[in-house]
Symmetry: C2
Subunit: 280 residues, 2 copies
């Protein structure tokens, strides 16, 4: 299959590498507005060639959107305008309601499949790409009923090639749940990093005293702002709701400390311990 990948960062680059290795793609064409990414993607042999968008769309069997979510929402109509009748368009964004809304207004809606492969690292760019990024992770397909069978079939093959397990839900459900289990985690981590750096002017102390606990909770603070700012804003309503709850719970925890309430703290932590049942 001829595959066009728009966005040659961590996600797009890793998909390119994997699809070539698994021979899902006979040819991979890249599109990226960043010239350094274009050059790197060729040098690292992630793609066979790089072309401007309209050329890259012409003969593609599958077009994969792997750019920040706000850019994807804007670009999708143009992509759907430029494809053949049987071309499948699939996006990889971390928010799904807004892109599905835009897709729903397009006459080629059924060529499009909205997905979210839940994989990534705190690193970004073509240099961070590796072909096992998606192994055994979960991918979500949203609003399946609005996609054509031929498009869904290709996307199933695509995710099988990426070695991912696929689940389904509505784009609305996706955005509500993902605010809790992914977007909130990133915010807690970004703000943790910011707070510690603000307070600990002597970076040496952070380095010296950072046990594995700090390293794992702050890891996501290394993530790309260019990717995450659009995600938080596209999913602003749900993210803001969950952040409000988190802040209230933190205030409550602080009150328990300030009032020397050992019993209340223990109860609160015992509640949190129940996460053991879901995250082994």
């Amino acid at each position: 299959m001829k595959v066009t990948i728009i966005g040659l960062g961590l996600i797009g680059g890793s998909i390119a590498k994997r699809l070539k290795e698994k021979k899902f793609a006979s040819e991979v064409t890249g599109v990226d507005s960043n010239e350094q990414h274009q050059r790197l993607a060729i040098e690292l042999d992630l793609v066979d060639s790089v072309h401007p968008l309209h050329e890259a769309l012409k003969n593609a069997d599958v077009v994969i959107l792997a750019i920040p979510v706000d850019a994807a929402v804007k670009l999708l109509p143009k992509v759907l305008d430029g494809i053949q009748n049987e071309t499948v368009v699939v996006d990889m964004g971390s928010t799904k309601e807004s892109i599905c809304k835009v897709a729903d207004e397009h006459e080629k809606r059924r060529n499009f499949v909205a997905t979210h492969p839940m994989a990534g690292t705190e690193h970004s760019g073509p240099n961070a790409a590796h072909s096992h990024l998606f192994d055994h992770k979960m991918a979500i397909i949203c609003d399946k009923n609005n996609s054509a069978d031929f498009a869904l079939k290709v996307v199933d093959q695509l995710y099988a090639a990426l070695n991912m397990k696929v689940i389904e839900m509505s784009s609305h459900e996706h955005d509500v749940h993902i605010a809790y289990v992914s977007h909130l985690s990133h915010i807690t981590s970004f703000v943790l990093g910011e707070t510690v750096l603000e307070k600990e002017k002597e970076v040496k102390h952070i380095f010296n005293m950072a046990g594995t606990g700090f390293a794992s909770t702050v890891r996501l603070a290394k993530s790309s702002p260019a990717m995450w700012a659009p995600i938080f804003l596209e999913n602003a309503k749900h993210v803001s709701d969950v952040l409000e709850t988190y802040i209230q719970n933190l205030k409550n925890f602080k009150r328990l400390i300030d009032t020397n309430d050992a019993e209340g703290l223990t109860k609160s932590m015992e509640n949190a311990n129940k996460i053991r049942e879901v995250i082994k």
Copy 2:
């Protein structure tokens, strides 16, 4: 050397195992108020025998306190009362000011060394003990000038046997810094776990949607409340200060989302990204 370990949980059990393996300890005597821990420590061959406190102190060359910090503060005078003139007492707690204050008032102050081995996992109890828990991690020795040379020498050997790197600082410095790089991480994680469980009544969704990002930020939420409630309360002032700053920074982040301020969000995350320079 004859070693007595008070508290046979994750830390005490792991130390016992390692010190026997490295032949630092010719004999390990355990003390624990929990009968199940006593039995397990014998069954798992962590200790040679279990005795009541006063008996276990009598012939010990080294006494290691590995119990929750509030219990350690209370027990330390009794331990110092019960030892021989050349016995070394060392504690393993995550807060240092309060125990040093208690030690300073005792005539055997110089037999005592205040330390904090920065290692652990989210698991607890004798079953979680393993002899490589401390490998290549950092240990902090506090208020060194108040300990005798013979005691410091034994503690150096002890940490060499545990395969840890040792740094020094005052107990006050320790408690200020550790609030940022360890205690705050645990709170952000406990409250994250609590918040997600509160909102996501359908546990299935958490399981399905939990990418590696969530798993790593929430890992510490599995930690033992019996260990952590005393830590937060012993270090209440510093922990409360840092938590206040964290809450203010979260509110600021939320405001940036609510006002659709992409530039502000990006700037805030770019600041957080600087953590890359300290945590590789």
